[in-house]
């Protein structure tokens, strides 16, 4: 007997049991996709970003330059600066309002000072001749590049309502309100570009009176740490006229934002993946054991033909293994091409998963499927041929008598009572049904809980750190800093600001702030430091650990780059000798040298506010660095009273102060720069829930189908003695009601427990305190009794729907055929 005969018998069995074969393919596909997600996130959450960064030739630093202040020759000189390995540009750039965008009426659009400002102060449009590099390749996902005036390519992550290719968008901020045709959608690894046009188009799109900007992209020989990036940026500033660089963003900023997103996504993706794996194993084991139980006669025939026990076992292993292989491959491709891009969330091209993960996921799933099949397959091999042919089907288990007796006493319609008691006749099968419904319901509870929790976090603005910064319009020498305030405020302008803040309803607290660079041993020679006048605990910064400074000699550290050390992006070389801020400990004393004078301060707290180059790395009282040379007041930072609308406050303050002041609203934490990167994007949760729900549905379907096949003879008897098709459907559907009720009892607390575990896992010290507080507060108010009841009923309904297919099959099966299935 050759292997070909075994294969032929297996293929014959697969064809005969086409529904089960299809279920195995689907189950393995879904579980492999889930495994791929879990492994990818678990192995290296930022690998997707780093892969995209490398493949799209991402720039280490993108700077926005005021083109009125530089000449092309000066920009060209920066290409040859020490440490610069590549430079591209200048690309003309401007900010626009498109029809339908939210913005303050009468305001002028501004380039976002950091990616993901909500709402954006303007849509950043860059003029480029082509999508190609040599740095920052734009990946066109739909349509084509803008080659002619009047065309625009939108970023896939643009904060703008989706338009069809060929649709028109109106630039409401430009003179004459020009219309542009959307010719494509693209993605960039640089986070602050939202649309692209032909370079000549930019001038026509610029708002009246708006300054002309260009964008330059650079890579450097050393750009692995924030300190190196800061030094690189300082070199560029020194090479260009003062104030020419108005804004910048580095690859580390983007990387830390992606890391923050992943820190939120990973726990629940892993939870869903585990549920999916458990379900897959249960379903495959159930199907394998049912195939053996329903195929006794076939086993007997195979053995009588000369198949050895090992060959019979191989037939059943192959019968499960072949569709499992197909499903595992399909699931891996599906996960790679479809699910991971959703997970990605960032504004960059999705990367294929690493080869080892691409192999481990399907091979691991196949191994699980094989181990789940092994016991039933060996049982088939050991079965005596005579016994198998004589029995024809699995021997009755001899269970469920008591359940049937009790069911009779319920005085329910007989098909209902028989259906309710039926699961007890096949306890093993019923346990799998129970596990399938339990897993599905637990996943739905988890998803509903996460949705509620994250929605609560989003809407609970009182818990979020929100603030407003006020300063002069950026016209002077550029400084590293949040909204790019470029010159110190004069005393008279400070007075105007303070007066406006005092009279503005919603002002909780404000403080004058000074930006400077400090040299900190083992951190960097140019570390951004903000020195505030007075107490700033009410400004809304989110502490991840410790407390705000309460007096001189104390400092708070931004640990936003905690996870970035050690990553290699593109051609960047990692300098592991450079200490990262994450290694700084609360209680540790550091020396900060400003203008040649050294100040000591003890670290008393940590914040997490990516990117650190934007928000600063060290925060302290002005008294701590009292006497430092060149310390001025650069801007005022305002904390808002609870319930104050940040946007309305910003608009009102702008009106009060007039156009010579720049008022910028920003959020610390979830609604700020992290938000856009899908940190709280529930689409992934929905996708995973659908995945697990499909698996649970397949689990119920396969269990009921197997039960129906095993009880086909009984179904024939019922019909022969007068059970109508509707009664048959009712009875079979009721098979899942008892496991469904039991599953609800188990799954509701289990789902809530898993939700709480996931929330605690998300709630790590990488997250802002406001998010952590908001998440923890949601643990107590996730579900109302009404919602739990609704979820239970929904689970029962879903289980019943899963059973409906087999029930209809049972009702439609021929009585005479069923009766012959002795």
């Amino acid at each position: 007997m050759s292997g070909a005969a075994v294969l032929k018998a297996a293929v014959g069995g697969m064809t005969r049991r086409s529904v089960q074969t299809g279920v195995i393919v689907l189950v393995l596909a879904a579980a492999s996709a889930a495994a791929l997600l879990g492994l990818t996130l678990g192995a290296d959450a930022n690998a997707q970003f780093l892969g995209a960064f490398a493949s799209q030739h991402g720039a280490d630093l993108a700077v926005t330059v005021d083109s009125a202040k530089v000449t092309t020759a000066e920009l060209n000189r920066t290409r040859r600066l020490p440490g610069v390995t590549a430079a591209v540009g200048p690309y003309p750039e401007t900010a626009v309002y498109l029809a339908g965008m939210k913005h303050t009426p009468g305001s002028t659009p501004r380039l976002p000072t950091h990616p993901g400002m909500t709402p954006p102060p303007g849509l950043a449009v860059v003029g480029r001749r082509s999508a190609g590099g040599p740095l920052d390749d734009i990946t066109i996902s739909q349509g084509h590049w803008a080659t002619r005036p009047g065309q625009i390519v939108l970023s896939v992550k643009a904060q703008y309502p989706s338009q069809r290719i060929g649709g028109k968008v109106t630039v409401t901020s430009a003179p004459g309100r020009p219309q542009l045709t959307v010719v494509g959608y693209g993605s960039t690894v640089v986070g602050d570009e939202q649309a692209w046009v032909a370079p000549d188009e930019i001038a026509a799109l610029r708002a009246k009176g708006a300054p002309a900007h260009v964008e330059m992209l650079y890579t450097f020989s050393s750009a692995s740490t924030s300190a190196q990036i800061t030094a690189d940026l300082a070199g560029l500033r020194a090479a260009l006229p003062a104030g020419a660089i108005t804004d910048s963003i580095s690859w580390l900023d983007l990387d830390s934002m992606v890391a923050a997103t992943s820190a939120i996504n990973t726990p629940y993706v892993v939870a869903f993946a585990i549920i999916a794996l458990v379900l897959a194993v249960l379903i495959v084991a159930n199907l394998a054991s049912a195939m053996v139980a329903a195929g006794y006669r076939r086993i007997g025939v195979l053995k009588s033909l000369g198949f050895t026990p090992v060959q019979v076992a191989c037939v059943y292993l192959a019968q499960i293994g072949l569709p499992a292989l197909l499903g595992a491959i399909a699931g891996t491709v599906l996960g790679d091409r479809w699910v991971l891009p959703v997970l990605n969330g960032g504004p960059f091209k999705a990367q294929p998963v690493p080869l080892w993960i691409g192999l481990t996921a399907p091979v691991g799933m196949l191994a699980l499927a094989a181990s789940a099949t092994l016991v039933p397959a060996l049982r088939a091999g050991r079965l005596s041929a005579v016994q198998a042919i004589a029995a024809g089907q699995a021997p009755r288990a001899g269970h469920g008598y008591l359940a049937h007796r009790l069911a009779v006493t319920l005085r329910l319609p007989r098909p209902v009572s028989i259906g309710l008691a039926a699961p007890f006749s096949r306890p093993a099968r019923s346990v799998v049904t129970l596990a399938a419904i339990t897993s599905g319901l637990a996943a739905v509870v988890l998803a509903a809980g996460l949705n509620t929790s994250l929605a609560n976090v989003r809407k609970d603005s009182d818990l979020l750190g929100q603030a407003v910064q006020v300063g002069d319009l950026p016209v002077g020498p550029s400084r590293v800093g949040a909204p790019g305030f470029t010159r110190p405020l004069t005393q008279s302008r400070q007075r105007r600001i303070r007066a406006a803040l005092r009279s503005q309803p919603g002002t909780l607290q404000y403080a004058a702030a000074a930006w400077t660079d400090a040299s900190v041993p083992r951190v960097g020679s140019s570390v951004p430091l903000t020195a505030y006048n007075g107490n700033v605990s009410g400004l809304g910064w989110d502490l991840t650990a410790g407390h705000w400074y309460t007096g001189p000699g104390q400092v708070v550290v931004n640990t936003a780059h905690a996870k970035t050390a050690g990553h290699t992006a593109g051609h960047a070389v990692v300098n592991t000798a450079q200490a990262d801020t994450a290694r700084l400990r609360i209680g540790q004393t550091i020396d900060m040298t400003i203008g040649g004078k050294t100040f000591s301060a003890r670290i008393v707290g940590k914040v997490y506010a990516p990117p650190a180059s934007l928000w600063g790395t060290l925060f302290t009282s002005r008294q701590t660095v009292s006497g430092a040379r060149g310390l001025s007041v650069d801007f005022y930072e305002v904390g808002l009273a609870p319930g104050t609308s940040q946007q309305r406050y910003e608009a009102a303050l702008s009106r009060t102060l007039g156009p010579s002041f720049l008022v910028t609203a920003f959020s610390f934490g979830v609604n700020g720069e992290i938000g856009t990167y899908a940190a709280l994007d529930t689409s992934l949760i929905r996708l995973l829930t659908i995945l697990v729900a499909v698996l649970a549905g397949l689990g119920v379907l396969s269990c009921v189908l197997m039960l129906a096949r095993e009880r086909v003879h009984d179904l024939g008897i019922f019909k022969a003695i007068g059970m109508t098709p509707p009664q048959t459907i009712t009875m079979v559907t009721c098979w899942v009601i008892t496991p469904g009720i039991a599953a609800a009892i188990i799954a509701l607390p289990a789902g809530i427990a898993v939700h709480n575990i996931v929330i605690h896992a998300i709630n790590n010290d990488q997250q802002p305190a406001s998010l952590r507080a908001a998440l923890l507060s949601t643990l107590e108010h996730v579900f109302t009794p009404g919602e739990l009841t609704l979820l239970t009923l929904a689970a029962l309904a879903a289980a019943a729907i899963g059973a409906l297919g087999p029930a209809i099959w049972a009702a439609a099966s021929k009585t005479t055929t069923a009766l012959r299935a002795e």
């Binding site: 007989r414 008897i717 019922f718 022969a720 003695i721 509707p726 005479t816 009766l819 002795e822």
Partner: protein
Amino acid sequence: MTADLNVGAGRESAAARTLIQLTAVTKRYQGAPAVNDVNLTVEPGDAVAVMGPSGSGKSTLLNLIAGLDRPTSGSVLVAGERVDEMGETGAARFRRREIGMIFQFFNLLEDLTVQDNVLLPAQLAGVRHRRARAQAGELLARLGIDRYANTYPGRLSGGERQRVAIARALVNSPPLLLADEPTGAVDTATGEEIGRLLLDLNHEGQTLLLVTHSPDLAARYAKRTVQLVDGEVISDTVAAGRPERAQEPRP
């Protein structure tokens, strides 16, 4: 007889007494017909044995009469109703009311007690619980198996199981009892016992259509024997001095 048929669905007039009327019934699966152009009538109170070798179409004929299968052509009239024109639900309701079936391998539900097995057709028909229990109890006592009411079928002998099957078949007092090889799975003595029981029921007025391949059983317990070969009726004999009925001419 064909002329007497009310070809439309529905009961015949009260005057018509014929319980089963098959007219030119053919059932074809694939290839040769399993039942070919069969005409057959059975009057109330008859005990008819349908005989023939394996594959002659006996069970197919029984299934057609019970509404478990549909003829390829021809009409099947039972108790005045066109069974061949009924839908699945209609046929199921019809079986509850008009037909009791017993099988060679008993076809009892192993996880229900004897009493629950017997009660089931009545419960499916919506008979009130008290009345159904009374009927079941009466039948169990009459068939001598009332002491097994709370026993599961797996613990009974073949003869006892077949008695349970007969009780179940009769619980809704159907006018027609169809028996497919009722003694095929029991020993000779038990077969005798089952045969006598069926005969007694027939003496009490129960119409009986018995499928068997045993000439002995047919001769001893049926008043009339219909012989099938290759799906066709080759003889229709009235036993014990009754005149033989000729096969009705084919159209």
